[in-house]
């Protein structure tokens, strides 16, 4: 017997589950899916980590929760750089759709910088890039995120020689 399929809605209350399911198509994605082959073995590959959890450095501007409270269909479309050395002591988390306490207690549950630093030291991956990123995942209208924010992140990844990205949505 194989691994059971993940039910992405099992942790949601039943009504919310029913409501969100309505907006997800039943059929597979119809269009072409982008594909960048992995060029080198993991032990030589430069990684970057990205999360949608609304994490920022304590020294940086937090994600804007006040505007979302006033405009419930708006989500902050900007991003924050998180240096590879960051730990729980360095970060703050602002997100109105999840309990954020766990991330403040152990950043690795969401943005596993510590685990990837270990993997780098152990030679499992080539390198963790100097800069990782967080944006804010609640985007009912993702145009600004896609057209302005993501290109900035991608340009810096390119500068830093990133070859593979692990995205952890919140």
């Amino acid at each position: 017997m194989g691994t059971p399929q993940v039910d992405g809605f099992r942790f949601l209350p039943p009504s919310l589950r029913a409501w969100i399911r309505r907006s997800i198509p039943a059929e597979p994605f119809p269009g072409p899916i982008p594909w960048t082959p992995l060029k080198r073995p993991l032990r030589k590959t430069t990684f970057c980590l990205v999360t949608s959890a609304g994490i920022s450095l304590k020294t940086d501007l937090p994600f804007d929760m006040d505007r979302e409270k006033k405009e419930p269909t708006w989500g902050d479309p900007t991003h924050r750089e998180i240096p590879r050395w960051a730990t729980e002591d360095d970060i703050q988390v602002h997100h109105l759709h999840i309990k954020t306490d766990y991330i403040r207690q152990d950043l690795n549950v969401m943005l596993p910088l510590g685990r990837f630093r270990e993997f780098e030291q152990e030679g499992i991956i080539g390198r963790l890039a100097p800069t990782c990123y967080s944006y804010y995942g609640f985007q009912l209208d993702p145009r600004t995120l896609l057209q302005q924010t993501m290109p900035k992140m991608a340009a810096k990844m390119h500068q830093e020689g990133v070859e593979a990205v692990l995205l952890t949505p919140a």
Partner: protein
Amino acid sequence: MTLTMTPEFHREVGIPRVAAIAYPYGRPVGQVGDREGQRAVLLETLAFLERAKTPGEVHHLPFQWPEEPSKTDWQPPEISPVVKFFLEEIKRAGREARTPKDS
């Protein structure tokens, strides 16, 4: 590649490589302080990255969250603005899902 609790969104946007995990929102890599558990999830995810050959491939990771969904505390302390905004619509969706459809 994406390590996600909600692989269903793949049908909406078309994600190149999906590692799906049955963990709660906000903790896709594992539990607080569980270094070995987090490493196991990430190593399995990296192994999938290395062997995936087809755009849109989904790999369901073989990990189970130790708590039942109803006992898992992942929700924000306050109901989120969008849920509050659409609350009547959400309740109606729940009622309709519970009502047996005419055959």
